[in-house]
Amino acid sequence: MEREGVRMADEALFEFLHMEVISYIFKSLEKDDSDNGKCTAKLEGMGFRVGQGLVERFTRDIPRFKDELDIMKFVCKDFWAGIFKKQVDNLRTNHQGVYVLQDNRFRLLTQISAGKQYMEHAPKFLAFTCGLVRGALSNLGVNSIVTAEVSLLPACKFQVMMQRA
């Protein structure tokens, strides 16, 4: 019970901090009237570094991965659950290095809307997570491009495209 409490707590803290970081970045860059792209790139970069660190910790006690699919399954299960308290709902792949992770109730969107309202704001709440996934994969030795797509909040799709050397 105690542990449960602690876990919940940090979750809220992460949520509020994530919120504030986004608002800070967008506010500070608005003044230079630069495009949103710069802000999302910055958030993505932050997520990348955090993902690198987190994945080191998350994979410390698990057996070595067999292959790429094994890694992706880990991202959808343990990694996602560790951060967002739930697993990815659906993982699809074309077996040519493209993976689509679908989360029907993405944690960072659930409080915002259940429908189309605020849709135009969704990208800024996904940038950090895109970076998180890319950073985690990169540290696991897989280079990728991660993008996100929303058609109805709070559901969300992350597309991971492996970049072969």
């Binding site: 570094r49 080191e56 910790r57 698990i62 070595r64 067999k66 030795g141």
Partner: protein
């Protein structure tokens, strides 16, 4: 305990290497470097054979006349090498294992320091302390 501890990136360049006595640096670098081939060899077998190499600890890489070289590779492909003096025969596999665990944990903490840039040589007092605790008690 250990006479040399090294942390090597997945691209095979060293992030950290510490050895005693310090004068033997070149020799240890060579030993660690040589061990990487064995590491690669062991890793490339993963998935091909049914052996239990899914464990992060790779065990004894190779013995030389003076030393025993042990290896461990994290899921993130960062490699840890520990060199033990051969004359120290009392060492058990479990002790080596727990040294690697300690090393890996310390490395994870370094990765979690926001001021550390992944891929940079490790400069951390906390990490140094962990390593020196593993290197002491030699004599």
């Amino acid at each position: 305990m250990a006479v040399c501890v090294a942390v090597i990136t997945k691209e095979n360049y060293p992030l950290y290497i510490s050895n005693i006595p310090a004068a033997n640096e070149l020799k240890f670098h060579y030993t660690v470097h040589t061990s990487l081939d064995v590491v690669e060899e062991k890793l490339s077998a993963v998935g091909k054979t049914a052996s239990d190499l899914r464990e992060l600890y790779l065990g004894l890489l190779y013995p030389t006349e003076d030393y025993k070289v042990y290896g461990y590779v994290a899921n993130t492909k960062v490699k840890f090498v520990i060199v033990i003096d051969s004359s120290n025969t009392s060492f058990r596999d479990n002790e080596i294992r727990s040294m690697f665990r300690k090393l890996h944990t310390a490395y994870t903490d370094v990765m979690c320091n926001p001021f550390y840039t992944p891929g940079d040589p490790i400069r951390s007092k906390t990490f140094d302390n962990v390593i020196s605790s593993m290197m002491m008690q030699v004599c």
